[in-house]
């Protein structure tokens, strides 16, 4: 039998009645985010890692390691008793420190030494500097390659847990299960990395490294750019859709499939299909808002930046989604599951639009980022993922402290779930699907028609 994850098994209860837990945790997260941003990332702060790629690499990899700890290894080697009885703040400190230490070992030991010194030079800043690159760019290039690997891992690692349900290793015990899934997803990540990003890295150097990589890359004519941001777009969307699937979508509609292999395959492939569709739409949305991309431009008109911005837009959607899941118990629970999901999705999209608007209007005033949309050093993914990391530390590692706590043995926990439904399909349901699908197509074209006017009304710059 598969053991449920600690995160699935635990029940959190509010420490205070009314809106106080929500308000307290929102404040706590905001303070933690800003202090840690100032210390580690802010260009005006102490360590100034937002260069941007070095800081971006760190925040992407910290996210991946946190996923490994909580989802892949299910907090092994820490026992359930320890997890239940240790103060949340102490747990937060220990697991966050562990996350940083693990990435330091991975960065210095695996990427920069094993890969960078023995296999592929661009993983090692030292080698790149020795080959004549300025140290700053040697670090940035190397960080770019390492973070691209993280982008893939942050999609595949959770996807194998929540979509593929750890199959075929779901019944193994920890740490065997953790190491197996880790090795397998690492292997998959390597394949995707070489197909999606190795060519990008190869054309960073002159002449193009055509004997070691496919140059120009295979996606050039389709994506209208030789830049790897084309792959960043759909991979970031995969990362975001995995968490939609796991949180506010409650694994629906794939959870309706009863046959396990089919459900797992459909979930895993479905996430990719949805992500690709989303990435195409977000690219199109930019064309509708700003006009067609022009190859060779540097900024918000260039195809490569538009593809990058697809990923950024997706991340703006992830932040309110996770917030709604963690601190608002998914927000809407009073209707049937599909209706709840529909409302949650619409609310999270509206919240993402607000976040996007506020971010670009104000971020340069307090985060030290550059004003405008498309400066090469303007990476909203960094502060957004940093914020996600802070939320994960709070929710996964600290059990939602200070607003929430773990339930005690025997304590009855009130949870707001939708009406329990059997996953059986009636003729009325099918009629609804047909009508809804037609409605969805109409909705899409209405959105496409209205988007230029809507984006004009919300014009930031």
């Amino acid at each position: 039998m598969e053991t449920p994850l600690f995160l699935e098994e635990r029940s959190l209860v509010k420490r205070y009645s009314g809106p106080w837990p929500l308000l307290i945790n929102t404040l706590f997260i905001a303070v933690l985010f800003y202090i840690s941003w100032w210390i580690f990332q802010d260009p005006r702060g102490i360590m100034r890692m937002y260069t941007p790629f070095e800081g971006y690499m760190w925040c992407r990899w910290l996210l991946v390691i946190m996923i490994w700890i909580a989802y892949v290894f299910d907090f092994w080697p820490f026992s359930r008793t320890w997890l239940k009885n240790t103060h949340p703040v102490l747990k937060g400190v220990i697991f966050t420190t562990l996350t940083v230490v693990l990435f330091t070992v991975l960065l210095k030991g695996f990427f920069e030494t094993v890969l960078g010194e023995l296999a592929i030079a661009y993983f090692s800043p030292r080698r790149l500097t020795e080959l004549g690159l300025i140290e700053f760019y040697a670090i940035e290039y190397s960080a770019q390659a390492i973070l691209m690997f993280a982008a893939i891992a942050s999609w595949l690692s959770p996807a194998w847990v929540v979509a593929a349900e750890n199959a075929p290793w779901q019944n193994l015990k920890q740490p065997v299960k953790g190491f197996t899934v880790l090795m397998f997803t690492f292997f998959l990540s390597f394949i995707v990395y070489f197909v999606a990003f190795h060519s990008h890295m190869a054309i960073l150097f002159d002449p193009w490294q055509e004997f070691t990589a496919i140059t120009p890359p295979w996606w050039e004519s389709f994506a209208d750019t030789v830049h790897g941001n084309f792959n960043i777009a759909w991979i970031m969307c995969c990362t975001v859709i995995v968490w939609m699937h796991e949180t506010i979508w409650e694994r629906y509609p794939f959870s309706m499939i009863e046959r396990p292999w089919l459900r797992r395959t459909a979930s895993f492939m479905g996430i990719i299909a949805i992500a690709v569709a989303l990435s195409f739409f977000l690219y199109y949305a930019q064309e509708l808002a700003w006009g067609e991309a022009i190859r060779g431009t540097r900024r918000d008109e260039s195809p490569d930046w538009r593809w990058l911005h697809v990923g950024e837009l997706a991340i703006f959607w992830l932040v309110p989604t996770l917030f709604m899941h963690f601190y608002l118990n998914n927000g809407v629970n009073r209707f049937s599951k599909p209706t709840n999901i529909l409302f949650r999705t619409l609310i999270s999209i509206a919240a993402a639009v607000v976040l996007y608007y506020v971010y670009y209007k104000t971020a340069h005033l307090f985060l030290g980022t550059q004003k405008g949309f498309s400066h090469p050093q303007q990476f909203p993914m960094v502060p957004m993922i940093w914020l996600v990391n802070v939320m994960l530390v709070n929710y996964w590692f600290m059990d939602g402290w200070p607003g929430w706590r773990l339930s005690r043995e025997g304590e009855v926990v009130k949870t707001a779930h939708g009406v329990h439904e059997k996953s059986v399909l009636t003729p009325a349901f099918y009629r609804g699907v047909i009508g809804g699908t037609l409605g969805g197509v109409v909705f899409y074209f209405a959105l496409v028609y209205l988007l230029p006017a809507m984006t004009n009304a919300l014009r930031i710059y």
Binding site: P43, R44, R48, P52, I134, E135, Y137, H200, I203, L204, D206, V226, H227, P253, M256, I257, E258, R259, P260, A273, V276, A277, F280, Y283, E292, I294, R295, G296, T297, R298, R299, E301, S302, P303, D304, S336, T339, T345, T369, Q370, K371, G372, H375, Q377, V424, L425, T426, A428, F429, G432, V433, I434, G436, T437, G439, G440, V441, Y444, V448, Y449
Partner: protein, 398 residues
């Protein structure tokens, strides 16, 4: 275990309410399915062009001139890339406010990344603009790597259809010592003293284009200065602190006409080291076409050209000439998006290209390899390569 989608004996609703509820569940599911399907099938298909607005050319007529001559006073903004990037890295990267670096002339002796405009200017303000040698000595003792500072400046001479020549100074460089030397070498000092130069056009607020302002003020403190919209308060204060007594014109976003056949265009572009906004020059040369002249072109050369295509009317509808820093690989870094530029520049059909400064030597070499009409220079006065139109070199369009 069976898949519910294949189940044949579906449970029928017993009441109308249940039926409606089932229908709504299906409708909610279908709404997502339909929307996502349409997104995937239509959004990146050729059919999407149906909803995209037609690109309309405004063809604004800003007149015509006979020719334009550009003298490169200095394109070497700094002399050693590794020193500059070492400073930038040490200070925290490319987003750190340029006034905080403790670079010349605003060094206060407190070290890299600990500077400020107020503390830096306080040490030299009393010496500006007439005692620059003395000021530079103080600057050298207080600033980080002052000998690495150079600067960008060019003299742009517009010849009208009637034969009248008007001179504009594009930018004023960075190092007081270097820029004064360059001004004297090209005779700019005398032109300024004789009020032969109509205006100083500052392309943008960056250190290497703007911080050498007192050198221009030394010779012509009353010269009209044209800056782009987006200057920060430190920059505006520096114009006053440099001893300027003339008019300051803020060129608003978009086109600003100065004389027949000559306009500037301000782009609200975010730039590294906390700078915002840049203006570049368009000149319409009779029977030839459009000449584009830039300081750094942070907006990107294709964006610059595309703006002209959409906004302006020019002779023969021809992109004729290009001069200046094209800001592609200024620190000899690289990114695949620059390859996109190298690949696509050919579509714009420029007839004469003089590039230097922040273009990047690698980019210039890739342009030459791609067969573009790059006018090579003489590699003198500390310019590094003939692929650049270097210091002291002249290019004429028309």
């Amino acid at each position: 275990m069976r898949c519910a989608f294949t189940k044949k004996e579906a449970i029928m609703p017993t009441t109308q309410t249940q039926g409606r509820r089932e229908f709504l569940k299906g409708a909610a599911t279908g709404l997502g399915l339909g929307t996502l399907s349409a997104m995937g099938i239509f959004s990146y298909s050729p059919m999407r062009a149906f909803f995209l607005p037609e690109a309309e050319r405004k063809m604004a007529d800003f007149g015509t001139c006979k020719s334009v001559k550009v003298t490169n006073i200095s394109e070497t903004s700094w002399f050693d890339n590794s020193i500059l990037m070492g400073d930038i890295k040490g200070a925290g990267g490319l987003l750190v406010n340029q006034y905080d670096y403790n670079w010349a002339p605003f060094g206060d002796g407190s070290g890299l990344a600990k500077g400020s405009y107020e503390r830096g200017i306080a040490k030299i303000k009393h010496l500006l603009p007439n005692h620059l040698e003395e000021a530079w000595e103080i600057i050298k003792t207080n600033s980080v790597n002052p000998d690495n500072a150079g600067g960008f400046a060019a003299l742009v001479e517009i010849e009208s259809l009637e034969g009248k020549k008007t001179k504009y100074l594009l930018d004023s460089g960075w190092s007081y010592a270097w820029m004064d030397e360059c001004f004297k070498r090209e005779g700019i000092d005398k032109m300024l003293q004789n009020n032969e130069i109509e205006a100083l056009i500052i392309s943008h607020e960056h250190f290497d284009h703007f911080w050498g302002l007192p050198v221009t003020m030394k010779y012509a403190p009353n010269i009209k200065i044209i800056i782009p919209e987006g200057f920060y308060k430190e920059g505006l204060q520096y114009i006053k602190d440099s001893g300027h007594t003339g008019e300051v014109v803020v060129a608003k976003k978009g086109r600003n006409d100065w004389e027949p056949g000559f306009c500037t265009y301000t782009f609200d572009v975010p730039i590294i080291c906390r700078v915002f906004g840049e203006q570049s020059l368009f000149v319409n040369v009779q029977d030839k076409g459009l000449v584009s002249i830039t300081g750094c072109c942070h907006q990107g050369i294709i964006k610059f050209a595309d703006t002209a295509y959409k906004e302006l009317k020019y002779d023969n509808d021809q992109m004729y000439g290009l001069y200046g820093g094209l800001h592609i690989s200024p620190f000899e870094d690289w990114d695949p998006k620059y390859d996109d530029l190298v690949i696509s520049l050919g579509k714009w059909d420029f007839q004469k290209v003089g590039c230097n400064h922040c273009t990047g030597l690698l980019t210039a070499q890739k342009f030459i390899r791609a067969g573009y009409p790059v006018v090579e220079g003489t590699a003198q006065h500390r310019s590094k390569s003939k692929a650049y139109l270097g210091n002291g070199d002249i290019i004429t369009f028309g």
